[in-house]
Subunit: 409 residues, 2 copies
DNA sequence: TCTCTTATGTTGCCCTAGCCAACAAATAGA
DNA sequence: TCTATTTGTTGGCTAGGGCAACATAAGAGA
């Protein structure tokens, strides 16, 4: 029996020792991570980036190949003097399901390791579904998609993007105001139905991860991601290349941060927050628009010449500027990515935001910092959710079980 | 020559491979980290916490002993059945200098690995010193302290806590408004004079690290630290047990975050920020106090019964509540630590803050979150700065050169 | 077409560091 | 004093990354 100082036990994660298995896992994971992000990569590049020995890379790639995760092929185009390097690619035969339940529809897709969408189903929900109904619908769509996959494909799991707060430890949706879901053990429910491992996280957080891997955040290690949708404003922060989750997974609620004394409430009942000031619905109303997507909204907005609309848009841009300035001070990011409605708003008058946010942040922190629109469009949540489902496989390629498409009875 | 996709090169850090040396370094570091934080620790505890084998711990401790970093001794009190475990302690003979230049004084101290202060000199500066003057003064004090150290002691380096923004990569002070220093290559200057390695960081960030290791943050991995001083409000964020530094080291400027439309400016010219609303000097003035420390301020404040003072204090508490609520939403921390003046303010009426911050953050994120006063007092910056100076040694015990007290000619 | 240069894949061997098992040592309790 | 329990110690094992030598496949130049 031990008599550890009580606080030490909690430190066990940081101060864990490592052994040979950890090395191997780490190196396999490093190689697979590179392949996921950049697709086909020559072995020589893997050697250079990882700093490992040629022979080690050879060994690692062989193991990944035996695991059925990557394939090797001879280079098509020769890249110069010397023996051409073999090109390694993530296989297209390992897939994940991505799920996004929202107010008006449930979307499910099948994606490969490198983020390619193989199939996608969007099922409209006439009435806002209860959690149990939603889980069943998701399950049915997945079964149908699964039946259409080639038999030798294997499945990493199901990733779910939730417009709300998710306790990542056990996959419980604590609160999804728009869906009116409270304390729903979504992961457990869907796992029991589908028999597949289920991973859940907040939608904006997954958006941030998707942009980091395949979008405007590629190559950055310090990213602040702000996502505006019909339901409000969410955020995700990438720090040191990894998602900032906080104690329970609720970190990054960047839309619910108070920046003004304005008494209007946001969707969560907080006043003066970014979400309460930057409202897509207000602009839609002013433009006389109904249910349009962000692209169409952008076009109408740019075409509109009324002073009233301009005033609303600019007031929202100014509020966004303050928030951007704040996040520069807080995170000192390399880049701030604006997605969804915020991207539309930004594009309306980029200079206004760029000049104003500088008033609300320290000049030092602005150095070499850029603000960009996100580039992944409507499929960003699918890519992010699938990435989440793959994350276990990515971090421990040799120790993660994949499920066959056809279940053996 | 390689033709890597341009963004991949920046990823090299995450996707670096690891080898045997990395394991050894990591394990030595894990053991030394534990010893630093908890002081004397039995070998059995090291085994249990790290998860490593008994024989491995034995080997690691032997190496640390040979490096002169730890000592082993038989247990004084027996702790139960079985052979008593040997107790390992960090040596007291490896020290670091801690430096804190401020407006009215320059403070330098000598500390051991476990944060014990061996010697301390506070030299008042009648006029606010220029950077070069300050560096020379620091150097002289260090020489004097060094001369008084036993000859067999060894020095890890100099850690400097700066009331301003520091570019951590090269140790340049970008801006320290209070000292009126701009773009000062402090680390390089002091390194050239002293011949010792110099590490610099922002004062509040170092405060956060000190509280994590030896203060109210012990055992937590997600900490938001807010520090109020005469010069303003600084912040430090510990995420996953590590300091959040951002792209260049400027992250954590939590005092310069705008939370209201109030037009008053803070020390950096930003309006409506936490720092502009929570002002120690205003309260001092209202209480008719001069240059007192936080403890005395707290006593006078508690004794005071005037409505005017109460109004000021409560307004400041309310502003602090909003900021606390915001940081709960942003970081989902386990604990928020209030230090310096903010601790005084909090203690004046803790319930007011505790009830009000709940209005400005999502209830979900408040679960199991606590707000506490920091417990390290006036020496917090010395502890933090010394910890910074030791960090290189801690992270690579076998590969870090220590300097002898007596220089061989 | 034939070398020469260059870059990469392959193979066998080495070495390090963590693990394991057996044994020794030091305690508490009966 | 004897037993159970826990921990330190020792020697051998093993996995996996590094290394060097060699093989291979290009391009360049004559």
């Amino acid at each position: 029996m031990s008599t550890l100082p009580p606080f030490l036990s909690r430190h066990s994660l940081t101060t864990k020792g490592s052994n040979r298995e950890d090395i191997r896992r780490h190196n396999l994971s490093a190689v697979l991570t590179l392949l996921k992000r950049s697709g086909s990569t020559p072995r020589s590049a893997l050697t250079e980036i990882t700093g490992l020995n040629r022979s080690t890379i050879s060994d690692l790639v062989t193991e990944l190949q035996e695991l059925g995760l990557v394939t090797e092929a001879e280079a098509v185009t020769s890249q110069g003097v010397g023996r051409p390097s073999l090109v390694v690619s993530p296989t297209e035969e390992v897939v994940a399901f991505a799920v996004n339940p929202d107010v008006d529809a449930i979307t499910v897709a099948v994606l490969t390791l490198s983020g390619k969408i193989i199939a996608k189903v969007r099922q409209a929900t006439p009435v806002q579904p209860a959690a149990t109904t939603a889980v069943e619908t998701v399950h049915q769509i997945i079964e149908q998609l699964r039946a259409n996959l080639p038999g030798h494909f294997r499945i990493a799991g199901i990733g779910v993007a939730i417009p709300g707060q998710v306790r990542t430890a056990d996959g419980v949706i604590r609160l999804a105001p728009r869906l009116n879901w409270v304390e729903v053990p979504f992961a457990r429910m869907l796992e029991q139905l589908s028999g597949l491992p289920v991973y859940i996280d907040n939608d904006a957080s997954l958006g941030a991860l998707a942009e980091r891997d395949f979008g405007a955040g590629m190559g950055y290690r310090e990213i602040v991601y702000l996502f505006g949708s019909a339901g409000g404003i969410g955020g995700g922060v990438i720090h040191d290349g990894m998602l900032l989750r906080g104690a329970a997974g609720y970190a990054g609620e960047l839309g619910h941060v108070r920046i003004s004394d304005d008494p209007h409430e946001d969707a969560s009942g907080l006043t003066g927050t970014l979400e309460s000031l930057v409202r897509r619905d207000l602009l839609l109303k002013a433009l006389g628009l109904g249910n349009v997507d962000d692209e169409e909204l952008g076009e109408v907005l740019r075409a509109d010449k009324s002073a009233k609309v301009r005033k609303i848009a600019e007031a929202q841009l100014d509020a966004l500027s303050i928030a951007v300035g704040n996040y520069v001070n807080i995170f000192n990011p390399e880049v701030i990515l604006l997605a969804g409605y915020l991207s539309t708003l930004f594009s309306y008058e980029p200079d206004r935001l760029m000049s104003r946010f500088r008033w609300s942040s320290l000049t030092t922190s602005q150095a070499r910092m850029s603000v960009k629109p996100a580039i992944l469009g409507a499929n960003v949540l699918m890519i992010g959710a699938a990435g989440l489902a793959f994350s276990q496989l990515i971090s421990a390629p040799a120790n993660t079980e994949l499920t066959r498409v056809k279940v053996k009875k």
